[in-house]
Assembly symmetry: C2
Homo-oligomer: 490 residues x 2
């Protein structure tokens, strides 16, 4: 993998003087085309050996293009806020919106590679991290974040020379840290682990480009050319248009929703409610809860009582510790990002509850049924959502998902009641009536969703909700049990 | 101020049972009217004595209204990210957008009051902080953030009793901290300082409401009623419509811009550029710079060369340490907030440079000239902007502001050149030609801006820019000098 990057590539001064102005002009032009078309964002990952010119190249790219539209982020040691979220959160926060270029100095590769070199993980764990990365990058690609992964390489003797040279120059001395020399001592291990990492993550849509870092002119021109080629390639080959959603699968007669029985009203609602809320209050105030956290999801047919169920939870919890995120159409900023971006935004820090009133499952429910996205898009969403929830889980967050189900008759009753009641009228819109006509389509979508996203770590709880009070108790008891079990195991 | 909140207000169970359902219904209705109209946001500040039911009231408000549209924030000790910005940054980050309700548990009052009680500041400093708060709240009000400031009070003996009662109950014990008892020991000092603070910040548009905290029923109903009254009052009295900008002031014949002389091209541009960039490189890599930071602003007529000047700065700086913010029309999320919100978003942490290509001065330039905001709005902006920049300065950030000026003839030449050059064509739009016709109006606006916002701590530098190279050197040397002086004084 690295051999061809140890051949001593050099670009002469004359050659550079000829090539550089042309390249710069083309880069600027490509950048402006991207800004205008906004058809994707370009994310350049910068990795490689210390002293191989990573920082210099980032500066060169900023110099050659319009730096106002480049977002450069150095992802070093995580800050306090970042450490309180799953590891990938900070990368999500800094993704460039469509039309812009992002440069990540230090990326999701840094931690797996360093941990393996330091012997904190084994090959199997490294490989698992790499597989997760491949899936993540695949998703980014599908969501129109184009990745360019640049690896700057130096042979062992070359690196030694470079580090010495940088240390001697008073202008550059600050750049070589003790850690750099420590890493140099581990050169062979780094080479081996990096080689493995690059090999396993060089995919068709996001291959690694290894660049020999010895000669500044060669490395700048090569990096610039890669950026140019990548933008041009994606500007000139428009994304395959999604084929419209044609076939209507028939619902199975006996699916989970059809089989759901609607139990009778509970006898001692007030008592049970108070008991469960008391339990929830104590659990969320438990010391151990400060190191955990909850992401709760509420989905269901219109008028199923999501809001009411959520209120019964929040009544029990200190208002400082939860936040409710009602999910409607995405904002302008959110539309310029991958669809999961707006949910990553709201991942809670440890010790808190984030309650989503509708959620990322919109992708495989309303967006699927209404044709707001292509079949290719919602089909891949199941796996992407599972990956997302796995990251929340791995970070110690409980993912608790509720589907509230009423039958069509009960929905009609509630719609009519809402229309008749003064201050409930705002709750019922023409859209609700339209959705109602697609009842079966939504049922199919929901059942597919249960099948494909009800996992060990994040199971769906189907809540029969014809009787509101039964539903509320069921939600409260499920949530309390999940938290209790998690705290017991902690 | 507190006397009437020590009378032992009590609401009987029967009275509460009568009043509460009606109040809740009205509150919900008011909340939904607010959500629908989006004409302002309501921000409830919660302050007062420990044990007076602050937390309980926040929970009650979340219970009585739709908690999905309430953003509750506990502002305790600042996090690492927060501490790296001016103190008011975190409040800006959590302002509710129009249509929503925010509840701040702990606010901009906490620090000034606690510092005064602990003797870290004197009355004069407290008063200065309070004056700043009054100005800040006045601005919020004008920007359609309606403030409701609730102060929960207990007499000294009452507080002692309450703290003891809470400590005895196993469900509430966690709420009373050692600090609470410590604060109780300072009851008299707290009372005195709080009284002074409330008195000086009770303005017509944002008065304090003191609520006796002893009786839960009384306090909940009273707080709820205040919320209701505040929403209703502002929903029902529409904002006075701004009178359109009618009069066109005449420019003074000899203003700063007219008097500006355009110097000749520099003789040894390349040498000087390299020297200045080298100086800037060393300065921004200086250890002391890690504790400082720069907010640089670029304004000027179209085609004055802002982008080129910015690029000469960034060429000298490590790309990880600066960020450029090109300012265009605000996004949807930004439009739902006070106009300074989108600039507070980008206040850099210590050790970094934020470069604004156009800025908050748009308010008193394009927005004024084009009539995008009312005269009342842009007139008050000068003082608001000065306050903003003072906060940046007080935090140790250098505020460096450049106005790049070319004359009308040179602008025409550049416009034509841009239209003729392939990859520069994107830079010239119909709007540029329109703006050109209002040259004099912009000149008047710019001169007013210099007069009113060129301050000791954040002076404007007027840069004659007919010759691009002269302008770039001037920008670089000014920036380098400002940083050098600041580091010397640090």
């Amino acid at each position: 993998m690295f051999e061809s990057a140890e051949l001593g590539h050099v670009v002469s001064k004359a050659e550079y003087a000829r090539a550089q102005p042309k390249l710069r002009e083309s880069l600027l032009e490509a950048q402006y085309d991207l800004i205008e078309k906004k058809s994707f964002s370009l994310l350049v990952l910068i990795g490689g050996v210390d002293g191989a010119g990573k920082g210099e190249t980032v500066n060169v790219l900023n110099e050659w293009m319009d730096p106002r539209h480049i977002h450069t982020h150095a992802h070093g040691a995580p800050s306090e806020d970042e450490a309180s979220r799953p590891p990938r959160w900070r990368f999500w926060q800094t993704l460039p919106p469509r039309g812009k270029i992002g440069i990540f100095f230090g990326s999701w590769y840094t931690q797996p590679i360093v941990q393996r070199v330091y012997g904190q993980t084994r090959d199997a764990e490294l490989d698992e991290s790499l597989e997760q990365i491949v899936r993540f990058e695949h998703m980014l690609h599908d969501e129109r974040v184009v990745l360019l992964k640049l690896w700057f390489h130096l042979g062992k003797q070359q690196q030694k020379k470079r580090l010495r040279a940088i240390s001697r120059d008073k202008h550059t001395r600050w750049r070589v840290t003790e850690q750099d020399w420590k890493h140099f001592g581990l050169y062979d291990q780094f080479r081996e682990v990096s080689e493995r990492s690059l090999r396993r993550t060089s995919t068709a849509e996001a291959p690694w480009r290894v660049i020999e870092g010895l000669d500044a002119r060669y490395r700048s021109l090569t990096a610039g050319q890669h950026v140019l080629d990548t933008i041009r390639e994606h500007l000139d080959t428009p994304r395959a248009q999604a084929t419209p959603h044609a076939h209507h699968p028939k619902p199975e007669a006996t699916n989970l929703i059809a089989k759901l029985e609607q139990p009778r009203a509970p006898k001692r609602y007030d008592d049970e409610l108070e008991t469960l809320q008391g339990k929830l209050a104590v659990l969320t105030r438990h010391k151990k809860f400060r190191k955990a956290g909850v992401v709760a999801v509420f989905e269901g047919v219109d008028a199923a009582g999501k809001g009411g169920a959520i209120r019964r939870i929040t009544q029990a919890i200190d208002a400082r510790y939860y936040r409710i995120h009602p999910v409607a159409a995405p904002s302008e900023e959110e539309r310029a990002q991958p669809y999961l971006w707006r949910f990553w935004r709201h991942v809670p820090p440890r010790g808190r509850l984030a309650i989503f009133d509708r959620s990322w499952y919109g992708r495989v429910l309303v967006e699927r049924v209404e044709g707001f996205c292509s079949e290719a898009d919602w089909s891949r969403a199941y796996a992407e959502i599972n990956d997302y929830e796995e990251q929340l889980h791995d970070h110690g967050l409980l993912v608790v998902k509720f589907w509230l189900q009423i039958d069509a008759k009960e929905q009609l009753r509630r719609f009519r009641e809402r229309q008749a009641t003064g201050f409930k009228r705002f709750k019922i819109t023409a859209e609700d009536w339209r959705n109602r006509k697609k009842w079966k389509d939504y049922e199919i979508a929901a059942c597919d969703m249960f099948d494909r996203t009800s996992t060990e770590i994040a199971p769906w709880t189907l809540v029969p909700a014809n009787d509101k009070r039964t539903a509320r108790l069921r939600v409260l008891s499920t949530l309390a049990e999940r938290i209790e079990r998690a705290l017991d195991e902690a």
